[in-house]
């Protein structure tokens, strides 16, 4: 479980998930339209006072009272919302990281709530009284590593749009950003040369030698699943191919010629993707870390994560 090491700034909902937006950390202020509304009210009041018009007074006070009550509505629209979970799939640098926040309305219907992360557009959602809503916000990334989007700002102007209530919540969300894949013939050629030395070509030709079935293990490529059996209710089974068990290949950081380590990581990233599309098991060799050859979605993820977190201490899990 993630525990934030740095001190939480005041006015932020903190602590482990789920976290609720509390009274203390919620603020409310009139916005520009609130000021416009004040001008409107002042004009009505001045006119009524000048002509001693009680109907004018009454309407001005109705409007003023409604604006006042709307403060309470705006405030209550916000407090008590709970952030009960965060989900984020890894992305490649340059892509948008998609954070999914699981928001619980806390038993009251919420309307027109806006969710905003720094650097991203606000997302407006309604929360029903019961159930959890997934709020997806997209933040652009440009650097590999562990991307932390910072605090999530939740704000609302409901119902009248003249007051804005807001609160910030520490989400603890992190997104693994893989290096930007840098495809190059040179790197691929290096890999191919390694294959030529072994039985690479032969292995590639033997792709379709069907050798048997085994129970499905998460990470098996979908195209190797025996869907026909699944549709008959026989459970998920994976077809195995003798060709998949080719000669392992190592993708080696130190074997690349680029002087810039980031570029090397980008090339390795492209190579991992290519190798996964191929048929041979592949391993990854980084300074200080070696990942043994294997195949499949889980292995690919391990390799890419290692590339993403390369050089950031304590995060090489």
């Amino acid at each position: 479980m993630e525990t934030s090491a740095n001190a939480t700034p005041p006015g932020t909902a903190a602590g482990p998930l789920p976290r609720s937006l509390k009274n203390k950390s919620t603020y409310i202020m009139p916005n520009a339209f609130g000021l416009m509304f004040t001008v409107l009210l002042s004009a009505l009041l001045a006119g009524s006072a000048n002509y001693n018009n009680n109907l004018g007074f009454l309407m001005a006070f109705f409007l003023g009272g409604m604006a006042f009550v709307s403060i309470l509505h705006t405030h209550r629209n916000l407090i008590g919302i709970t952030l009960s979970g965060v989900q984020c799939e890894p992305v490649f640098a340059g892509e948008e990281a998609v954070f999914e926040f699981l928001m619980d309305s806390g038993g009251r219907e919420r309307r027109a709530l806006a969710f905003k992360l720094a650097g991203a557009d606000a997302v407006v959602e309604d929360l029903p009284a019961k159930g959890i809503v997934r709020v997806r916000t997209r933040v652009p990334t440009n650097q590999r590593g562990l991307f932390s989007p910072g605090r999530l700002t939740v704000f609302t102007r409901f119902p009248f749009g003249i007051f804005r209530a807001w609160s910030q919540v520490e989400t603890g969300a992190e997104c693994v950003v893989y290096p930007r894949p840098l495809d190059s013939r040179m790197a691929w050629a290096a890999l191919s040369r390694g294959e030529e030395n072994g039985a690479g070509k032969k292995a590639r030709q033997a792709v379709d030698d069907f050798s048997g079935l085994r129970a499905y293990v998460p990470g098996d490529p979908p195209r190797h699943l025996w869907w026909k059996a699944y549709s008959r209710g026989l459970g998920l089974q994976t077809k195995t191919f003798s060709g998949s068990q080719g000669e392992p290949v190592y993708l080696d950081f130190s074997a690349l010629a680029d002087p810039d380590p980031e570029k090397r990581l980008s090339r390795l990233c492209a190579m991992v993707l290519a190798a996964e599309r191929g048929t041979r098991p592949y391993g990854l060799s980084l300074p200080g870390r070696v990942i043994l050859p294997s195949r499949g979605e889980a292995h690919r993820r391990t390799c890419l994560t290692a590339l993403a977190l390369f050089g950031s201490p304590g995060k090489n899990a």
């Binding site: 479980m1 482990p16 998930l17 789920p18 339209f33 416009m36 509304f37 409107l40 004009a43 009505l44 009041l45 001045a46 006072a49 000048n50 002509y51 001693n52 018009n53 009680n54 109907l55 004018g56 007074f57 009454l58 309407m59 001005a60 006070f61 109705f62 409007l63 003023g64 009272g65 409604m66 006042f68 009550v69 709307s70 309470l72 509505h73 209550r76 009960s84 979970g85 038993g107 009251r108 309307r111 027109a112 407006v124 309604d126 009284a129 102007r157 409901f158 119902p159 009248f160 749009g161």
Partner: protein, 654 residues
């Protein structure tokens, strides 16, 4: 093609609702422009029509502004700014592109809705305005809650209004009122009711006007209906065609005396004129008015607001003299109506006294089949002759003007008096209503020994007029179809009853709410022990009202939300309590861990607890996931959690 503007429809509707009360009083072309604009704005998105461009809108705005200012010769009439605002709201709707435009349009609509107060202060209009405010607020919610349903927004807006009532009412009571206005003066209101001139043959438009002219509450025994002559003006100047008031009528200097005193309180509707009505004849002037030598009351300023005054009158006055004498009331321009002059001269020759001349004239009306009607037809160049000898059909003005002409031609001083005759009792309240349709004209002749004496020629022809409603006497065909259906159709009776009930409510509304002024506010503050003098007292009252109102509104808001809160989930509460106890015992449930997984982990980590935890978890799962809440099972589960203690179970188990 531009994307469809989803808010244009409701914004247009809000503007239309806010403008509707003005639609009938604005100049026809402004109303037409508004109607055409709304139709266009409604159809344009459906038909794919393009909105007018920026230059077209600017040109329209300038043209309309110039036309309005030209039509009203400036901005003196309240209709000028209202017309401008209505037209500009239509133009604004044509350039709504973003959130900012929409908000600005809504604020404009609020202003437009409130501007209806310039029309009248009646309760029905106030209720309509509140409805308009609620609808506009719902539209405001809609533009701030994209994709929401208008129906739920309407109910939310209504709920917010109800929650705002305490603040609004307390502020209404406590907000400082000032004596007189702050600056400037009120816009001229439209003027209705009596005319201060009388021309025979001119069309009389008041008969179908059912609006109240004033209301009366008698302090003393109400006189019979035939004595209810409400005097407004005397018309003693005659130019051969038109009767009018003299420019200057000096104030009364003699005290008025008499018998049969009647005192009453009159609540006069604003008519933008200075004359006041009083029962014939008033004894003295009420506050804020002057009693003139022709026994009429004149207010010190035009009556632009509801005016309440107390009068005392003598139904049987002593000799009514006036300082200027009756000589002005003999003036008659030469020429015209020769037959009437001959008839008058003949009467003057035969009669022994002016009173006999009047009796002869009345006898003439009675004998010659004169008809009281609202549709007298045209009278030609000599209207008195035509009326007396040819058509013999007319209403009170014809009778009064002809009688006065005959008297003057016979040398008897005579003048026309205009005002109202009669009153309707409101069966629901202890007051009488005098309507515009009760407008009446009669005459007074000067007799040396008795002073001014009232003579009503209509009583000779249609004596029932004085005891019954004028409408009952007339040929029904003379009224418009709509009017006939409303006043004489099968629904007339319930409609009238409702009218009286509503009039009572409306009168109380005026009395208690609209007429709440500086004076009433000072009284209220005194009763609360706060001095209304200086600024400290009123300021404290305002601050107190604000605080109290805010507190009440907050209370109301949270109360209504408490009642909406779902019933607590007791099984869930028990489960949470159980988890807390397990956490104390050293096995905390992870937030993402389901009950079954948790029980499994506990049984692994603490075998001694496997049995009780398994039992509790099974119960919880049965309650939670079996689909229905079984009260017995729920009770058992809660009981089991209550008695659960990790330490005891482990001790007992090992």
């Amino acid at each position: 093609m531009k994307p469809r503007n989803p808010y244009l429809g409701i914004l247009t509707l809000a503007v239309a609702v806010a403008t509707l009360p003005h639609l009938f009083s604005m100049p026809g072309w402004v109303s037409a422009f508004c109607l055409v604009s709304w139709g266009f704005l409604f159809l344009a998105p459906r038909r794919g029509w393009a909105m007018p461009g920026a230059w077209a809108r600017r040109a329209l705005a300038v043209t309309l502004a110039i036309a309005v200012v030209y039509r009203f010769q400036g901005l003196a009439s309240y209709l000028a700014p209202v017309s401008l605002l209505s037209a500009m709201a239509c133009l604004k709707l044509m350039e709504v592109h973003n959130h900012r435009d929409r908000m600005a349009t809504v604020f404009m609509t609020f202003f437009l809705a409130v501007s209806s107060l310039l029309i009248s202060k009646s309760l029905q209009l106030a209720l309509y305005m509140v409805g308009s405010l609620v609808f506009t607020s719902a539209v405001l919610i809609q533009i701030n809650h994209p994709g929401g349903r208008m129906k739920s927004h309407l109910s939310l807006a209504a709920r917010i209004l109800v929650q705002a009532l305490p603040v609004a009412l307390l502020l209404f009571l406590a907000f400082p009122r000032f004596q007189g206005g702050l600056w400037g003066r009120a816009w001229d209101q439209r003027s209705t009711g009596l005319s201060d001139t009388l021309t025979m043959g001119a069309f009389s438009s008041l008969a179908e006007n059912n609006e109240p002219a004033f209301r009366v509450a008698f302090d003393t025994e109400p006189p019979p209906r035939r004595d209810l002559y409400w005097r407004a003006l005397t018309l003693s100047r005659f130019d051969g065609k038109t009767w009018s008031s003299p420019t200057v009528v000096p104030p009364m200097i003699h005290p008025v005396t008499g018998s049969r005193p009647v005192s009453c309180t009159v609540v006069l509707e604003p008519h933008s004129e200075r004359w006041l009505m009083a029962l014939d004849v008033p004894a003295r002037a009420p506050e804020g008015a002057v009693l003139r030598s022709d026994f009429t009351l004149t207010a010190n300023r035009r009556v632009q607001e509801t005016f309440r005054y107390h009068t005392t009158s003598f139904l049987a006055p002593a000799r009514l003299a006036e300082s200027a004498g009756p000589f002005l009331s003999l003036q008659l321009p030469p020429g015209g109506n020769p037959r009437a002059r001959r008839l008058a001269a003949e009467w003057a020759g035969r009669a022994a006294s002016p009173a006999q001349v009047a009796d002869m004239a009345i006898a003439y009306f009675r004998k010659n089949d004169f008809v009281y009607t609202l549709a007298p037809g045209t009278l030609g160049r000599d209207p008195v002759d035509a009326f007396l000898f040819e058509t013999r059909q007319g209403f009170c003005e014809h009778f009064a003007a002809s009688f006065a002409f005959l008297m003057r031609a016979a040398g008897v001083p005579c003048r026309v008096v205009v005002g109202y005759q009669g009153a309707q009792k409101n069966p629901f309240g202890n007051y009488y209503i005098v309507r515009q349709s009760d407008a009446h004209a009669w005459t007074e002749i000067w007799l040396a020994d008795r002073g001014w004496v009232r003579v009503d020629p209509v009583s000779a022809v249609a004596p029932a007029r004085l005891n019954r409603d004028v409408r009952d006497l007339m040929d029904k065909k003379m009224f418009s179809l709509m009017y006939r259906w409303l006043r004489m159709g099968p629904l007339a009776r319930p409609l009238e009853e409702f009218g009286f009930a509503w009039d009572l409510v409306n009168t109380r509304w005026r009395e208690w709410v609209m007429d709440y002024t500086h004076k009433e506010q000072a009284g209220l503050l005194e009763r609360l022990g706060i001095s209304a003098k200086g600024w400290a007292g009123p300021a404290a009252a305002l601050a107190g009202a604000l605080a109290l109102g805010a507190a009440l509104a907050t209370l109301l808001h949270f109360r209504s939300n408490w009642t909406q809160r779902p019933r607590p989930d007791r099984s869930r509460e028990s489960w949470d309590r159980f988890c807390a106890r397990m956490a104390q015992a050293g096995v905390a449930r992870r937030p993402d861990e389901g009950p079954a997984d948790f029980a499994w982990r506990v049984s692994q980590a603490r075998p001694g607890l496997a049995a009780p935890v398994g039992e509790i978890t099974d119960l919880y799962i049965a309650l939670r996931y079996a689909g229905k809440e079984d009260p017995a099972l729920s009770a058992r589960f809660r009981d089991r959690v209550r008695t659960f203690s990790a330490a005891r179970e482990e001790r007992g188990g090992s």
